[in-house]
């Protein structure tokens, strides 16, 4: 097992290098001159040239890449062109904000998705099965952007149940310590504010969680159906065992592998969807950070932002692989 984990970790190295090359080359294909974007239309040619020189944009791309990697290995993500602050200092709060949002979305998605899938399989061809699968279909094809705006309109503007954007009550903020605001509010001894933070999380959480929720529900259902048809479940049911334990304990455990895979993949994909959700809900996360950086051609931030997300994606995949081992001892590690 340990050697498996080590081997699995070593395999990450070529993956990460490949990823960094891809990210680096894509970013250099973005049209537009960063010097022009930074200094504005009115800048003179000399000042733009001086800035390009200073930013190293005149070097050949492979030199820029090598310089970047050398610094990266020393833990230096570079400085933001726009704010001139080291990205490693800047990115922390954004990561925390995205983490908080992603965890909540995934919790909603997994909870609703898995249960809807199990019950749909259990009560196959019932009205519940049909409705939830129709919703899953709608959910998969729902544009996040549109869903977010609709949520804001219905739940914030018309019903006034929930705040439409931001992370906490702007009029009465709590000091950021961990930048996970639920925890920060509790540290500050403000359960009322923690509740406000939770309310702020609900709409973006649903917007971000809807697609994975639908996918998880469908995956769980089909995986469950397969297991439920197997002999041992039929036997268990025939023995007169209570229905619910059979479904949740015996069947679900064996249906779990594909579901975990999907959950892992979707968690990674969430980070991509976060760009849209964070923009609509003014959520100051990594998605927003990259979005703003793109509009300012802030190359180092785009690079590092995407790279950080990619690393998280790879790590999630690693965790999923390791989870298989726990779930299903039959999986062979050689």
């Amino acid at each position: 097992m340990v050697s498996y984990i080590i081997r699995r970790l070593l395999m990450l190295i070529p993956v990460l290098i490949g990823m960094s090359i891809i990210v680096f080359s894509i970013i250099h294909a973005i049209p537009g001159d960063p010097a022009e974007t930074i200094l504005g239309d009115k800048a003179t040619e000399e000042s733009k040239e001086a800035l390009r020189e200073e930013l190293g944009l005149n070097d050949p791309v492979h030199v820029q890449y090598l310089n970047y990697m050398t610094r990266l290995l020393q833990g230096d993500l570079g400085n933001s062109i726009r704010t001139n602050v080291p990205i490693s200092e800047e990115i922390g709060p954004y990561l925390a904000a995205t983490l908080e949002l992603t965890l909540v979305s995934m919790a909603i998605a997994v909870f609703v998705g898995v249960n809807a899938g199990i019950i749909s399989a259990w009560k196959q061809n019932s009205w519940f099965d049909y409705t939830s699968m129709i919703f899953a279909l709608v959910g998969v094809s729902m544009p996040i952007f549109w869903l977010g705006l609709m949520e804001q309109w219905i739940f914030a503007l018309e019903l006034k149940w929930l705040p439409s954007l931001g992370r906490m009550n702007a009029r009465d903020p709590v000091e950021a310590v961990t930048h996970l605001y639920i925890i920060d509010a509790l540290i500050a001894g403000r359960p009322d504010q923690a509740w406000t933070v939770i309310k702020h999380l609900i709409l973006p959480g649903i917007a971000l969680g809807t697609i994975p929720m639908a996918i998880i529900a469908r995956m769980t259902r089909s995986s469950m159906l397969e297991v439920m048809r197997s002999d041992y479940i039929r036997t268990a049911r025939a023995k007169g065992l209570n229905q619910l334990p059979v479904v949740y304990k015996h069947a679900f455990k064996n249906a779990l592998i594909p579901v975990v895979t999907v959950i892992g993949l979707q968690t990674g994909l969430l980070l991509g969807g976060a760009v849209l959700t964070e923009t609509i809900f003014a959520w100051p996360g990594v998605g927003r950070y990259i979005f703003e950086a793109i509009s300012f051609r802030d190359y180092p931030v785009i690079q590092s932002g995407i790279l950080v997300i990619a690393v998280i994606f790879v790590l999630i995949n690693l965790i999923v692989d390791l989870l298989y081992a726990l779930i299903d001892p039959r999986i062979n590690y050689r």
Binding site: A170, R171, A282
Partner: protein
């Protein structure tokens, strides 16, 4: 238990999908006529009358006014810093601020400023002549990459307007100039020249741009990047009775419609960047009010005057008659622009309102073309450069170009629209080799006519900002003379004459001066948007 949870989640989904079906038939804007009793956000128990929450599209880059070039940064520094002189609210006229009065020497080379007494920086240190000298010396020692606006307003080290800044006594500062500069006082009023605390500059160093210290109406409190900037009332503010609110929170919300929704829900008090599409909902909602920023820009159609057929002024005038500005404004600007007849906005001094614009008249246009020697229109297919990016003065260049292309076709002028990438576009237009017709625009830097009439149209600026390559000797002489002329009345006269020549020669068709739309809660009072794009919130209060 789990089941019940699931049902509630599913019903939420259902509610969302109901919105989907409803959306097909009705518009997305909420029913604005419905009275909304609960205007305050659900989470704040009592009405927050002492905190102003402003929503805008993007975050600031840095908060040291001297180093930034973007409007979003200036919007904050405007609150934290004072300049020696300021613009009167809603205009670009100069009024006293940290300098109470000033005198200019006969030859225009010495300015003496009497400073306001008893003013303190937010860190408790005194504002005085030494502080002013310290700030100007800091800028004089820097170059364009450090202090962009200082260098563009007062020249590079080799060719500088300001020679020396000296403290005469604690409350008197004397500026010695190398040469006269008519817009000198207007330049000093630019927010970029906010006076910073010398002590804080020294102690904070690089950190100063994140923790600014000035003398302004509001004290910088906290900056959560891409989220919000919090400012608090300066209790020792020199302008007695101001600011009216205790706290200002400026939030970054990129999505225009999300910002508008939050305003309607009462989570924001004031927002910038309202979509023209939301104008009807805004005007129909009694809880909201509309603000319009005075026009401070010009969007124009330029003719490349060094290439035939546009080397002939008659052809340029002919095409001017083929542009229907009102139609463009209602189709592409949502009505939020004024038709332009001069190359500068009417809010600037020296604007010649006596000028009569060329009416939209296709028959007249054809007749003029015939007079110019093109009775059957122009054979050659002309290259029409359409802006590939959106700007406040040109929301959708390609569509505007297509509309104009159709008009020009009616008078026998065939055009081919090209829209290269923005950097290439600017470079090509600067050289004037490829295009016949192009579109561009300009937003004023300092509230002076010189910044439009000289910068964009003098023959001396061909190769930089005179993209129409129009070299008119008399016009260029007038605007150059106006630049050095210190007698205000004479300057105005020179600019009015220049605008007459511009109209006769028609190197451009000035299209629009766009007026950005803002919105606020109905109880927000005392807010006056500035043409320059940033204004102080010190006079804002709630009713």
């Amino acid at each position: 238990m789990k089941k019940r949870w699931m049902f509630s989640a599913l019903s939420l989904l259902l509610a969302a999908s109901l919105g989907l079906t409803g959306c097909g038939s009705s518009s997305q804007t909420p029913d604005a006529s419905k009275p909304q009793e609960n205007a305050q956000p659900a989470e704040s128990g009592k009405p927050a009358q002492d905190t102003l929450i402003v929503g805008r599209g993007g975050d600031s880059a840095a908060l040291d006014p001297a180093v930034v070039t973007d409007g979003e940064s200036i919007k904050i520094t405007q609150q934290v810093f004072d300049t020696l002189l300021d613009y009167k609210p809603g205009t670009t006229d100069v009024e006293p601020s940290l300098a109470e009065s000033w005198e200019m020497s006969e030859d225009g080379l010495k300015y003496t400023f009497k400073l306001r007494q008893g003013v303190k920086f937010h860190d408790g240190t005194d504002f005085n002549a030494d502080a002013v000298v310290h700030n100007f010396n800091r800028w004089l020692a820097g170059d364009k990459s450090q202090f962009y606006y200082f260098v563009s307003a007062f020249g590079t080290a080799e060719d500088r307007v300001i020679k020396e800044v000296k403290a005469i006594d604690a409350n008197t500062v004397e500026f010695t100039l190398n040469k006269t500069q008519a817009p000198f006082l207007r330049n000093l009023a630019m927010p970029a020249f906010g006076i910073a605390s010398p002590k804080a500059l020294e102690e904070k160093g690089e950190k100063f741009k994140e923790e600014p210290v000035g003398t302004g109406a509001f004290v910088f409190k906290e900056w959560k990047r891409n989220d919000s900037i919090t400012l608090e009332k300066n209790p020792n503010y020199w302008n007695e009775g101001f600011p009216k609110v205790n706290k200002v929170i400026v939030r970054s919300i990129p999505e225009n419609s999300a910002r508008f929704t939050a305003l309607q829900a009462g989570e924001l008090d004031l927002i910038e960047g309202v979509n023209p599409d939301d104008l009807a909902a805004l005007e129909g909602n009694a809880d909201l009010q509309k603000f319009v920023r005075p026009a401070f820009n010009v969007g124009y159609l330029g003719f490349n005057a060094k290439k035939p057929p546009f080397d002939n002024p008659k052809v340029r005038v002919a095409l001017s008659h083929a542009v229907n500005k009102e139609a463009l404004i209602s189709a592409f600007y949502g009505g939020l622009a004024e038709p332009a007849k001069n190359p500068m906005p009417p809010s600037l001094f020296g604007y010649n309102d006596a000028i009569e614009d060329y009416p939209y008249d296709l028959e007249k246009a054809k007749a003029l073309l015939a007079e110019a020697g093109y009775p059957n229109g122009i054979e050659e297919e002309l290259v029409f450069y359409a802006m590939p990016v959106a700007r406040p003065y040109m929301p959708d260049g390609k569509k505007v170009a297509e509309a104009l292309q159709a008009e020009f076709a009616k008078i026998g002028v065939k055009t081919k629209i090209e829209s290269p990438e923005w950097a290439v576009y600017l470079e090509d237009a600067k050289k004037g080799e490829k295009d016949h017709i192009f579109m561009l625009g300009w937003t004023g830097d300092n509230g002076d006519a010189d910044n439009f009439l000289f910068t964009l149209l003098s023959k001396d600026t061909i190769g930089s900002n005179n993209y129409s390559q129009w070299a008119h000797d008399e016009y260029s002489k007038l605007v150059a003379e106006a630049q050095g002329e210190l007698d205000e009345a004479k300057r105005i006269d020179l600019y009015k004459k220049a605008q007459e020549i511009f109209k006769q020669e028609a190197p451009w068709v000035p299209l629009v001066h766009s007026t950005p739309l803002l919105a606020g809660r109905a109880n927000v009072k005392g807010y006056v948007p500035s043409p320059t794009g940033s204004e102080s919130y010190e006079a804002v209060y709630f009713e």
